[in-house]
Amino acid sequence: MTHEPKIVAFLCNWCTYTGADLAGTARIKYAPNVRAIRVMCSGRIDPSFIIDAFAKGADGVLMGGCHPGDCHYINGNFKTFRRMPLVTRYLEQYGIDTKRFRFEWVSASEGDRFAAIVNEFTATLKGLGPLKLRTEGIVVPQPADPSDQKSGGHAPRGAMARPEARS
C-alpha cells in the first residue's frame, strides 16, 4: 500500500481557515491528508509547534495566513514571515527536507487555491516518502506542563503522552 502522508496544517482563523471552509462549501475535492489546527492569527504559530508536529510524526507541516497587508490583526503575519525563513533553515540543519514545510498566504476567498496547495503538497510528500527521524530508543521530549513550574524545562516523560499517541 502506498504511503499516505500526514499533514498538520496551522491555519489562521480569518483568512486561510475561512478559505478552507470556502473550499468545503464549494465542494472542491482535495486530498484527505491534511488535518487543520485553527489559530486566531498566523502570528500565534510558535516555531515550536511546527517542530513538535514533525517530532510527533507529521510528514509535512502547512502554515496558512492572510496575505501580508490583509492581516486581520494589521501585521500579525509580519512576525510570521520574519520567523519562517529561520524555521526552514532549522529543519534543513536537522536533516528534514525543507519541501516538507510550506507556508502560504491564502485569503478567505481562495478556497480553490487552498485545495490546490493541499493536493500539490500531498503529492510532493508522497514523492518524499515517510519522514524517518532518529532514534536509538530516545523518548520524544514532551512540551512542558506550565502548571508544573519547577520542571526541568522538559516535563517528566509522557507528561502528556496519550495511549493513542504511542503506536
Binding site: 498538520v8 468545503g24 484527505p32 485553527r38 501585521n75
Partner: protein
C-alpha cells in the same frame, strides 16, 4: 487532571453521514480517555440537538464539550450559547470541523472517517486543557469624535448629536464644508449645492452637542473602543475664537492679498481671511506667509479695526485632549493633479481647466460670479469635457472615480445653459449607475451635447489649418467611427479623478486601521460591514473609503452614525476574553513583546521591570505568546498546552 468530556457527532442530515461513518466515529470517541459520553444526532444545531448536550452537562457534570459538525465560524456561537444556558462556560466548548474540512471535500469514506477521527481527537486534545474564562465588560464613553468636516462628517455629526450625545468634529481647514462647499449644482437633480449644504453647516455650528474644532488636526489616539483618548492640535489661528464675532472688518481692512485656495487661485483673498462667505465658524485665520506684520512688525490693520480685540499675533498651537467612546473618519479624498498628464497641457495651456476650478467658475459666489468665461473674458463657443483624467489609468489610478461621468454631464448641461456653446464629452465608457443618472444622460443627449467615445491622446494649441487657429485642438481616436479626429475647441475641462489623500497612510496609522492598494481605507467587510474597520470603535464614511457621490456619502455618514449609536446605547461593551496575559512571576522584562502588539496593548512597567497586557486593548491574536522567550505570556484559549495537545490529537494515528 481528570476531565469529563462529552462528544456529540452531527450527521447534518446526510451532509456528514453521507461520507463519514458516524457509528465508527462515535465508537472512536468512546474509546478516548476523559470521554464521559459520546452521542450522535441528525442535527446538533437544532433545539433537540442542543438539549441533548445541555442535559448531559447537567446530569454527567461535564466540564468540556466537543461537537463534531460544521465549521466553528458557522455554529460555534450557537453551541457556546447552549453550553452557557447549561452553566458551562462558553470557552469550555470545542468544535471539530468534520463538514467543511472533511465530508464536503473528500469522497473516499474510509479516508474521510480516518480524518474525522483525527480532527475529533485534535478537538479532544484541546478540550482536555480548556479552562473557563470570565466575560469582561467595560463602560463606554458616550462622546464621539468625527474627523473631517465635509458632507460625510457633517451628516455623521448631526445624526449622532441629534440623538443627544456629545460630538467633537475636527476639521483641518478653517471652515467645514469640504469639497461640496465648492460645488455649484449637484447631479442629477441640479439642485444648488450651497442651498442644501449651508443650512447643515449652520446647524453644526449652532448645535449644543457638537463641539467644532476647525483649523485642527488629530495628533495621537490611544485607548480602545468605548474609551479612546485623543490628542488634537489646535493650530494657531491668530484670532481668538472666543472674542471674534465674525464681523469681517479685518478682512475688509487687510491690505495684503494672496491667491484664494478655495477658488483654486482664480481669485484672491486677504492675508486674514475666511475661505468663503458662508464659512462655519465665521472666524477668520491669518496666513502668516502673506501677512506683512510677521515680516516687518508693521501694519496691524486688522488689530486696529477689530472691535472685540480678537486678533492675537502671538497665538501658539495648543494640544487639547479629549476622551471619546467611538471615532468616525470622514477624511474624504483629493483630486488627481492633472499636470502629471503632460499631453493634456494642464498648467501649460491657459484654457485647460481642472474640474474644481470649473466648479468655482460656475458658482454664483465664485470668481466669475457663475459666468462661464475664458481668461479673455469671452464666452467659449465650444468646450471639451475630457473624462477619466487620472482614473482607469494604470500609470496613475487604476480605479474608476465613479463621479466624473456624472459631473461632466452636469458641466455639459451648465455650459449649454449658460453659454449655448457646443459641448463635447470624450469618454471611455459612460457610467450612469445611480438613481436618475441614466435619465440625466438621456436628457443631455436630447440637449444635443456631443459624445465622442475615445480616450483623448493630447490637447494642443498648434493649428494645422485656419479653423484650428487660436483654438485648443483635442486629438482623439473616435473608437465608434474608428478614426483619429482633431476637434478644435475654445475651452477644455478635465474630469480629474478622485484619489486617496496623500496623508491617508499616516492617518490610517494614527487610528490603527489599514489602507488598500488604491490607498483608500479598508472597511471590515466590503459587503456586510462597509463602514466598520478592523479596529473596534473606529468607523469610516464617505470618500475616504473609496470614491463616492454625495448620496452615497451621506448614506454612509448616517450608517456610521447608526453604528456608533448602537455602541453608545449599550453603555458597556464586552471585550474579547481570550486575550493574552503575562505571568509577572516569569516575566524577566526582556521587552521582546513590547513592539509586537499591533494594538499597543503591551506596556512595560519600569518599576516592576515587567511587561503587562491591557486586556481591553488585546484582540487575542497571540503573536506575543508565540514570541515570548520565557513562556511568560499565556494566550488564553489558545495556550501552548492546548495547542500541543491538539497537535498530539490530530496525529493520533502517527508513529511517534
Amino acid at each position: 487532571m481528570n476531565k469529563k468530556l462529552g462528544v456529540y457527532v452531527c450527521h447534518c442530515g446526510t451532509n456528514i453521514s453521507g461520507t463519514v461513518n458516524i457509528n465508527e466515529l462515535v465508537e472512536f470517541a468512546r474509546s478516548q480517555p476523559d470521554v464521559k459520553v459520546a452521542r450522535d444526532y441528525k442535527f446538533m444545531c437544532s433545539d433537540p440537538g442542543q438539549a441533548l448536550l445541555q442535559e448531559d452537562i447537567k446530569k454527567e457534570g461535564l466540564d468540556g464539550v466537543v461537537v463534531a459538525s460544521c465549521s466553528p465560524l458557522m455554529h460555534e456561537p450557537t453551541f457556546r450559547k447552549a453550553c452557557e444556558k447549561a452553566n458551562l462556560n462558553r470557552y469550555q466548548f470545542q468544535m471539530a470541523n468534520i463538514r467543511e474540512h472533511c465530508s464536503w471535500v473528500h469522497t473516499d469514506k474510509v479516508a474521510a472517517t480516518a480524518k474525522a477521527k483525527a480532527l475529533l481527537s485534535g478537538a479532544l486534545g484541546k478540550a482536555r486543557y480548556l479552562a473557563p474564562l470570565p466575560s469582561k465588560k467595560v463602560p463606554v464613553n458616550p462622546a464621539t469624535l468625527v474627523v473631517g468636516g465635509g458632507i460625510a462628517g457633517i451628516q455623521t455629526a448631526l445624526d449622532i448629536a441629534d440623538s443627544g450625545t456629545k460630538v467633537y468634529l475636527v476639521e483641518r481647514e478653517a471652515t467645514i464644508g469640504g469639497h461640496m462647499a465648492k460645488f455649484d449644482k449637484t447631479f442629477p437633480t441640479l439642485d444648488c449645492a450651497a442651498c442644501i449644504l449651508t443650512p447643515k453647516m449652520v446647524s453644526v455650528g449652532q448645535h449644543d452637542n457638537i463641539e467644532l474644532m476647525t483649523w485642527s488636526e488629530v495628533e495621537e489616539v490611544t485607548g480602545y473602543v468605548g474609551n479612546f483618548k485623543v490628542k488634537v492640535r489646535r493650530k494657531a489661528r491668530y484670532v481668538d475664537e472666543e472674542k471674534c464675532n465674525g464681523c469681517g472688518i479685518c478682512q475688509e481692512k487687510c491690505p495684503y492679498k494672496a491667491p484664494s485656495e478655495f477658488d483654486h487661485a482664480l481669485s484672491k483673498r486677504k492675508a486674514i481671511y475666511m475661505p468663503f462667505p458662508q464659512a462655519v465658524p465665521k472666524i477668520p485665520v491669518i496666513d502668516k506667509e502673506t501677512c506683512v506684520y510677521y515680516k516687518t512688525g508693521k501694519c496691524q490693520a486688522c488689530k486696529k479695526f477689530c472691535a472685540t480685540d480678537a486678533i492675537d499675533f502671538e497665538q501658539k498651537d495648543r494640544i487639547e485632549e479629549i476622551e471619546v467612546g467611538a471615532i468616525v473618519l470622514t477624511t474624504g479624498f483629493q483630486v488627481f493633479d492633472a499636470s502629471k498628464m503632460t499631453p493634456y497641457g494642464y498648467g501649460r495651456l491657459p484654457e485647460v481647466y481642472s474640474a474644481l476650478e470649473f466648479e468655482r467658475m460656475n458658482s454664483a459666489s465664485g470668481p466669475t460670479g457663475g459666468e462661464v468665461r475664458m481668461k479673455n473674458g469671452q464666452k467659449p463657443k465650444s468646450v471639451a469635457l475630457v473624462h477619466c483624467v487620472g482614473s482607469r489609468d494604470r500609470r496613475f489610478n487604476e480605479h474608476c472615480s465613479r463621479v466624473c461621468c456624472m459631473y461632466s454631464l452636469k458641466f455639459a448641461h451648465l455650459i449649454k445653459e449658460r453659454t449655448g456653446a457646443e459641448v463635447y464629452n470624450f469618454y471611455i465608457d459612460m457610467r450612469c449607475f445611480g438613481k436618475g443618472y441614466e435619465q440625466f444622460y438621456q436628457r443631455l443627449l436630447d440637449e444635443e451635447v456631443r459624445f465622442v467615445r475615445g480616450r483623448v491622446a493630447s490637447i494642443t494649441d498648434f493649428a494645422l489649418d485656419e479653423n484650428e487657429k487660436g483654438k485648443l485642438v483635442v486629438r482623439v481616436e473616435d473608437t465608434l467611427l474608428a478614426e483619429t479626429r482633431r476637434i478644435p475647441v475654445d475651452m477644455v475641462v478635465l474630469a480629474n479623478g478622485l484619489e486617496a489623500t496623500a496623508d491617508a497612510p499616516m492617518v490610517a496609522r494614527t487610528f490603527n486601521i489599514s489602507t488598500g492598494k488604491d490607498g483608500f481605507f479598508i472597511e471590515k467587510h466590503p459587503k456586510l460591514a462597509p463602514v466598520s474597520t478592523a479596529t473596534d470603535g473606529v468607523y469610516i464614511a464617505g470618500a475616504c473609503q473609496g470614491p463616492k457621490d454625495i448620496p452615497d456619502t451621506v448614506a454612509q455618514g448616517s450608517a456610521a452614525a447608526a453604528q456608533v449609536l448602537s455602541v453608545l446605547a449599550r453603555g458597556e461593551i464586552e471585550v474579547e476574553a481570550a486575550t493574552s496575559e503575562i505571568n509577572e512571576e516569569l516575566c524577566a522584562g526582556c521587552r521582546i513583546c513590547n513592539t509586537l502588539c499591533p494594538y499597543t496593548a503591551i506596556t512595560f512597567d519600569p518599576v516592576k521591570e515587567t511587561s503587562r497586557v491591557n486586556d481591553a486593548l488585546c484582540k487575542g491574536c497571540g503573536t506575543c505568546a508565540a514570541a515570548c522567550p520565557s513562556s511568560a505570556i499565556h494566550a488564553k484559549h489558545f495556550t501552548d498546552q492546548q495547542i500541543y495537545s491538539e497537535i498530539q490529537g490530530v496525529l493520533y494515528d502517527a508513529r511517534a
